[in-house]
Subunit: 337 residues, 2 copies
């Protein structure tokens, strides 16, 4: 059994913040990342919560990310916000960008935010969710080092590249929150199986010749299987075009890895589209969403993307989150360094 | 062997136009649909080309679509174009909307087009491709009557709902054109197997209890299998939110069928996002696209979405298209009525 300790969300944010600052991050970069870490733990995505803090701290120390970066915000066209993350944390760049994106989307009906020179943004849906909480429909894209091969090819050209869409419920929450990668399974799951010497199910990875394999090590030398075959490649390409090409960020084929300390800053990108549903639907949006959500929830056992995170988050607000003690030990060791 | 006749693209457009007008469509509605029919045939998507003209004509005559509709264009916010298709053809509404969308996206950096009271828009990628040909990055969504069940459920709540993204190559064409539905296979393929009394492969459809079946008739009473399981449901939900909820159009659960003559106008919707890549990428977009496309084409046998259509289209410009003679007979019969 894994030993855990139950922490409040404020305690989680505080631990994350202190560790990041101790590692050399300034407050402007540490705060948004610490806040996102608490939300991620509340939503039950523990793989991307506190467990990532030691990696982030290591990356500040090795220069893979600049903990004191100052994101540069510009407005190249009336409805476009551009942020150069200056090889700092994505979270600070997104925060700065959202400060302009939200009022702009309300005013113009739609606005976009393009971020380059950026870094791993953690759970993408954390960011789109924030826009939905402000009454906007949000679509987000973020790219990653290449690990999926094109149809008919064997060499990776695009990352497991997730997209996310969050629709507001009009009451400060997301009615539906979709946040899904282009691969059948997360690459971290394959790496975990490789570390533990376990086979992976057929359909997770392909070897260097493009053939299905159950050997995770062969898969890591080959490529990740796209979800739904060529349609998964389509999703990964869409995300690559939006997060990298449209943002002027580094393509997955040229990006340094998100894990480990080599290669310098990955300089990948994010792209967000924020739309005012009132403007496009002539006020019909809320009613349509109630009908759509209702049609799903009318079926016993049926669920919508985002239902699980919302329920876990509600519980975490009052009861806190059980965090792996080994993770907490690592973070407390960083703080007391 | 199927008997065919080779026609030029101008001849295809002319036949489509004349049949539509003969059925009671006015020129403003018939022309954009006839042009799209020629492009669709050129791109090799014959299932949605001239073969659809007799259905469109029937729908004008039974009132499922108003052949003389006048789409109403408004500008509810500075970067939003809204079109009420007035239960006319989607193509005329899209045409009217694009006239405003294209200059607006260039000026603002991004603009959206929301269409309600609309109809089947044929091949979605035909429309996003037009925006890419004008130098804009385009994302499109269109919804359809419900045929995919939610995760954990059995009853359809969303259509096979395609999305499309077209990236400009800077030379008047699309560098990458993605156009894919949320289901494993097109519903028309299942209907064809049912008509011909043939089994379908496992993974195409689910019966009314949500179990996999090879019986197409059971599948048509049940639901279409989403591509990649729950991730395909996510795509269908994304498209439903954009094309229907965001446009104030009719949800798939309430829409009348696209085939047959009953139920009146489906009043479904379309949604397009057009972005100026120069504005968001600080001029780096073209170079990134060359690198991405190059990394794919450097692998023998590897291909990108849109490669097939582009090659077929190039060939069709000079050599014309071989069209099924039975389809041509039907259309000529309509014209000479």
């Amino acid at each position: 059994m894994i030993k855990t300790e139950t922490l409040s969300l404020a305690e989680i944010e505080d631990l994350a913040f202190k560790a990041l600052v101790q590692a050399g991050t300034d407050e402007a970069n540490a705060r948004p990342l610490a806040q996102a870490t608490a939300v991620t733990e509340a939503d039950g995505v523990s793989s991307h919560g506190l467990a990532y803090i030691p990696i982030y701290c290591e990356h500040v120390q090795c220069g893979k990310v600049d903990g004191k970066a100052k994101p540069i915000v510009t407005r190249p066209k009336p409805s476009v916000v551009k942020v150069d993350a200056a090889t700092g944390f994505a979270h600070a760049a997104i925060d700065k960008g959202f400060e302009e994106l939200v009022p702009l989307a309300r005013e113009q009906g739609v606005a976009v935010l393009a971020i380059n020179n950026s870094y791993n943004c953690g759970v993408l849906g954390i960011h789109t969710q924030r826009l939905a909480q402000q009454g906007l429909l949000a679509i987000g894209f973020t790219n990653a080092p290449a690990s999926i091969a094109p149809s008919g090819g064997q060499k990776p050209v695009v990352g497991t590249n997730p997209f996310s869409i969050a629709a507001p419920d009009g009451q400060g929450n997301a009615a539906i929150l979709i946040d899904q990668s282009a691969s059948t399974i997360a690459k971290s799951e394959v790496m975990k199986h490789a570390r533990e010497g376990q086979e992976v199910p057929l359909g997770w990875v392909l070897d260097a010749d493009g053939n299905p394999t159950t050997d995770p090590a062969e898969g890591l030398k080959g490529s990740m299987a796209p979800s739904g075959g060529y349609k998964g490649v389509g999703i990964a390409l869409m995300v690559e075009m939006m997060a990298a090409a449209m943002s002027g960020a580094t393509l997955g084929i040229h990006a340094s890895p998100f894990s480990g300390t080599v290669g310098g800053p990955p300089k990948t990108g994010q792209f967000f589209i924020a739309i005012d549903p009132q403007a496009t639907s002539a006020g019909d949006f809320a009613e349509r969403m109630v009908q759509l959500v209702g049609a799903v929830h009318a079926q016993p056992e049926a669920r919508l993307p985002g239902d699980g995170r919302r329920n876990k988050s509600k519980n975490a607000q009052t009861n806190g989150v059980a965090v792996n003690s080994a993770v907490l030990d690592k973070i407390r060791a960083i703080i007391s360094e």
